[in-house]
């Protein structure tokens, strides 16, 4: 039994590429779900998807200029993501249109430009790599970059945490205190771009957002507190990474989709059996009688 467990759970990590993939996935799982929780609570769940497309032209340009160089592609991704976020914000302020409509327009332009750029300079294999990543091809440089970006995100998020909470709940209160809500919002979007850039190497530009949103939306079925949502989201992200990698190793299936699908299974199971708002929670819901003590 122990030998079987060892062969299933531990032996795969004897390989360096599996260990690097695991550490990269765990680092991303620390940074991505908290961002996803705030996106979800601010009603911006699809903005993550839009931003994922926004980094594509920069990644493609980096690839065209320097080949498969992660630093060059990451730098391109960050610049292009920030540019699109600023352009969308600028157009929205200038025209009075909602930011999501400007963002939707720009992400479609970005997607088309990115695919065009990759096609100009590479093959369909390259395009697949950029769009869907390759977690098992993470080398030491990529790992360092992912770990550094994740650390920056966690530290920055901790620094602006209260401002972000107040801005999400009651932006006017924050503005009244002389803090520009747009500054907090801008930093938050910047972190989003950084995280997606870190994630594209392992999961690809399109699926990196999965590690951000699925743990967050799944956590909603298990906690009604912000700290709970973040903690559970991180746990789900990490579990999906470990399980997805193991499944990918044993069944010889692509690792990125395996990780995201695992998180997806967690979401569906939680929607059925979660503690709050799930199907079973609705079925067993009973109102407490009048005068009963408040649940803490």
């Amino acid at each position: 039994m122990l030998a079987l467990l060892d062969a299933w759970l531990l032996a795969p990590f004897d390989y360096g590429f599996m260990r690097r993939a695991l550490v990269a996935g765990l680092a991303l799982s620390l940074a991505a779900p908290p961002l996803g929780v705030f996106l979800m609570l601010r009603g911006m769940s699809l903005i993550g998807d839009a931003m994922a497309h926004a980094i594509l032209p920069g990644v493609a340009l980096g690839f065209l200029l320097a080949g498969f160089s992660l630093p060059a592609m990451s730098l391109g991704g960050v610049l292009s993501g920030l540019l699109v976020a600023m352009l969308a914000g600028g157009v929205s302020q200038m025209t009075g249109h909602r930011e999501d409509s400007a963002m939707a327009s720009f992400f479609l332009i970005s997607l088309a430009a990115g695919v065009m750029l990759v096609s100009l300079g590479g093959s369909s294999v390259d395009l697949t790599h950029v769009l869907f990543g390759s977690v098992l091809a993470v080398d030491s440089t990529a790992l360092l970059l992912i770990a550094a970006i994740s650390s920056v995100i966690v530290v920055t998020l901790a620094t602006i945490f209260r401002a972000l909470v107040v801005e999400s709940l009651d932006p006017l209160f924050l503005r009244g205190q002389g803090v520009h809500a747009s500054l907090v919002h801008g930093i938050f979007l910047g972190l989003l771009v950084l995280n997606l850039t870190a994630g594209f190497q392992t999961l690809g530009t399109l699926m990196a957002v999965g590690l951000m949103m699925l743990p967050a939306t799944t956590a909603r079925f298990w906690s009604q507190r912000l700290e709970g949502l973040i903690g559970i989201g991180i746990g789900i992200g990490m579990a999906a990474n470990v399980c997805g990698l193991l499944l990918s190793y044993h069944l010889s299936i692509p690792s990125g989709p395996a990780i995201i699908l695992f998180a997806g299974v967690g979401y569906l199971a939680s929607a059925l059996f979660g503690r709050h708002h799930s199907l079973t929670a609705r079925l067993r819901r009973r109102a407490a009688p009048l005068g009963a003590p408040e649940p803490h």
Binding site: L41, V165, P171, E294
Partner: protein
């Protein structure tokens, strides 16, 4: 916004405010009394919210200036309830505690003294039993009490309230009236947008009437009797409603 060292906490000097290209208020001159409750009255569209935005520094004056001696941390603005995102997972206690955030800093956690003060504030407002309840599950009155609790935590010296009694129950009106009066008695400057003559009679020490782009300082009695300082004004023309004018 200038911060003089003496005189009343809040003074407006020949203030002109605009929304876009449209001037909403002009030549607004006057001081708000410290330790008193000033009601801001006027029909819809006369510039009550614009004036509040100007005082809070959210709207840059076209001309003139707002002189305010109160630091940003001690200014509180309670807009109408709908500005709050009720789906955000936050309990009453957590909302009340955010009041200490502006002066407390961004990184430090709350200590026992903060929580003790938070519990005192909730007890004063009669919402201790709701401490752990999510904001989305509160009634309008309970939510308004929690929001006032946040300003109490903030130890606000300047408090601006936009229709604080809209859609709240009579008991909450009583509790909030007492708390707001206590705040004024302890020296805070309160400015309250009101639409109800009964509440005006009960709460206001003085009144600022907004009409035709101008502001007039007057007494509560004069407004209730329908006599403004510049022109006779009937309560209904100020957007005031209510069964009696005392």
């Amino acid at each position: 916004m200038a911060t003089p060292t003496e005189g009343p906490r809040l003074q407006l000097d020949d203030l002109q405010l605009a929304q876009g290209n449209r001037t909403v208020l002009q030549h607004v001159d006057g001081a708000f009394r410290d330790g008193a409750i000033t009601a801001l009255v006027g029909a819809n569209g006369t510039g009550k919210s614009t004036l509040i935005q100007g005082i809070m520094g959210l709207l840059k004056p076209v001309a003139g200036r707002v002189r305010c001696r109160v630091s940003k941390e001690r200014r509180a603005w309670l807009p109408q309830q709908l500005a709050l995102d009720l789906t955000f997972p936050m309990s009453v206690e957590e909302l009340v505690m955010t009041g200490s955030w502006p002066s407390h800093g961004a990184l430090k956690g709350y200590c026992a003294a903060h929580y003790r003060r938070g519990r005192e504030v909730m007890a004063r407002l009669g919402i201790s039993h709701l401490a752990h309840r999510p904001l989305g599950e509160l009634s309008g009155g309970q939510r308004q009490r929690a929001l006032i609790g946040r300003t109490l935590m903030q130890e606000a010296e300047l408090l601006l309230l936009d229709e604080p009694f809209a859609n709240v129950d009579a008991e909450t009106v009583d509790v909030l009236t007492t708390v707001l009066r206590d705040m004024a008695d302890s020296g805070a400057t309160l400015i309250v947008v009101l639409h109800d003559t009964e509440q005006l009679a009960r709460l206001a020490d003085e009144v600022v009437v907004l009409s035709h782009g101008h502001a007039h300082w007057t007494s509560t009695e004069a407004v209730l009797k329908g006599h403004g300082p510049a022109s006779p004004v009937a309560p209904m023309s100020l957007g005031l409603s209510g069964v009696s004018a005392c």
